[in-house]
Amino acid sequence: MNLITKTTLLYLLVALLVFGFGGVVTYVLVENEVRKETDFALRDNLNQVSEELAEGIPLSVLKRGKVDISDLGEMARDTFFIYSDTLAPHPYLEGVMEPYRKLTAVRKVGARYYGFSITDVFIETDDIYDVVVEIMSRLFLILGVAMLFFSFLITRLLFRPFQQTLQQIRSFRLKEAEPLQLPDTTTKEFRQLNTFLTQMAAKARRDYLAVKEFSENASHEMQTPLAVAQGKLDLLLETQGLSDEQLTLVQAIQQSIGKLSKLGKALQLLTKIDNQEFSSQAPVNFSRITEASLEHFSELATLKDLQMSSRIEPNVQISVDPVLADILVGNLLKNAIRHNGQGGWIAVELTSEKLVVRNSGKPPRVPTEQLFGRFQKSHATDGSLGLGLAIVKKIADASQFTVDYQFSEGAHQLTVGFA
């Protein structure tokens, strides 16, 4: 339910309460006014009759349908005006009783006291009630229709800048350079919102670029000094007369430099995936990628005496960035070879739903799901960086795949689900 529908319904609910309460008040006010007016008319009538009586007009003439006068002689007393409600037969309709207002009083006219009793038709409360309800419901109907109509117009007119803003945000991409173009609006709130959004978008983009630039620079700027150091060591090895001890030291330094360089590259790759720099989503032939990767690693597997078997369903098309797909499969196979023992086995299975890589190997020393974290190693002594599975996880997340790591009965099983 959109905002306008919600507010309209709420307003209508409030209007319903107001009209209900207003109806009750109107009813009470009208009824009081009618009573007052009736009573006033009755008193007026009584005064007039008593004046006429004083002028000497005989009682028999003054006594009409609604006026009754009785001569009480000289020994009575004045009373207050006494009003009362009473019922009397309807003048024309037989058998129908009507409410009447009755005024009784004793007044002294000349030297004698007279008892007056005057009645008048009183407007029925039923009628007042009916009229009030009628007025209120019509007003409510008019108000309701008007509100629905105007809320529709308001959505169209007032909320247009808001809709445009929403549209713009939806199509906003961090990677693209063009600034967020939000519509001009005279509405203060929307203007504030737009200013805020524009600032946020600019900041997000700046941060994104800063992170991107930093990770790129960190990696690049790191590689050149490493290349210099690496070269110096290569030159050092060329010199004559190095002792065995010195040679071992040089080699250890070379290995560390190599590791540092790879670490930088791996972290840069993770950042790049985080920054969605690999965003091609065209379908790729995953079967071919898997087969190429198997071919690529077959030599290393053979050198380690590993039995490799594979069941690849042909022509499996998966929507994923081809570079990431290659890295994903490569890392899984590398992992399966690396954490395998001499003479072990690897089994790869690819269907349109999943890629499963199973391999023999020592049981992991930490819970398998933790191995997807960065720098998590099952066995601290091996030469890996501990980023392989973190990259697998990151690629899976970026490509909306699921990953699962199970160890049972001496077999590691990594499953990537495509669905």
Partner: protein, 225 residues
């Protein structure tokens, strides 16, 4: 072989120059875009070593220029970027190879020589070392004129040894040459050992001398001594 090194990091240039000073290479260096452009326009080189990230310009533009005026020159791109896009673009523009920093100088040497062989002799280059003759065109290897059958990795290893003859090569350098980024395996040194053992066996079985000298604790050296 005449080589132009286009690279803004002075120390790296010094490394390369020092390393190649022992071979038959003539190295010149250009430290920025302008200098490189001037040298490329004025002189002829066999192979150009090109860093594509220069302080005053994009190295890829130098590549475009070079391919216009002297398309026969070999180009090896060296870059700190491991970006696939740069690699693809560089190779599409006519570069022969792409090497990511940091690299080992023997690796650079091997790559440069491979480009040189391809460019200068259209691959018809016979490499000779002692009793060994390698036809780089059809990958045939002869020891004392007897053909020796090598696996691809053994052939690559032999070629790497010959281009870096008389130089100390660590197991890591050899492993990275043979397996590139996959060399970070714990047991890749054992793999190197296996290949060396097989290559040595094949050469000596054909009555060749054992040129592969083991340097204890370090690696190997290919030499006649």
């Amino acid at each position: 072989m005449k080589v132009l090194i286009i690279e803004d990091e002075k120390e790296l240039v010094e490394n390369i120059k020092a390393y190649f000073s022992r071979g038959d290479m003539v190295c010149e260096a250009a430290l920025d875009f302008a200098e490189a452009q001037e040298k490329l326009l004025s002189f002829d080189y066999d192979v150009v070593l090109l860093d594509i990230m220069l302080p005053d310009g994009n190295g890829l533009n130098l590549l475009r220029l070079l391919k216009q005026i002297r398309p026969e020159t070999g180009v090896l791109i060296i870059s700190a970027k491991n970006a696939l896009d740069d690699k693809v673009e560089g190779l599409e523009l006519g570069a022969d190879d792409y090497l990511t920093k940091p690299f080992h100088l023997p690796e650079l040497n091997a790559r440069l020589n491979a480009i040189y062989r391809r460019r200068k002799f259209q691959g018809h280059k016979i490499l000779e070392f002692g009793d060994i003759r390698v036809n780089t065109d059809n990958h045939e290897v002869f020891v004392k004129d007897m053909p020796v059958i090598l696996t691809i990795k053994e052939y690559e290893l032999l070629l790497f040894f010959i281009t870096n003859k008389n130089r100390a090569l660590t197991k890591q350098i050899i492993a990275e040459h043979l397996w590139g980024d996959d060399a970070d395996f714990l047991d890749s040194f054992d793999f190197v050992y296996q290949h060396i053992k097989n290559l040595r066996k094949k050469i000596t079985a054909a009555d060749g001398a054992d040129y592969i000298k083991t340097i204890y604790g370090l690696g190997y050296k290919f030499s006649e001594e």
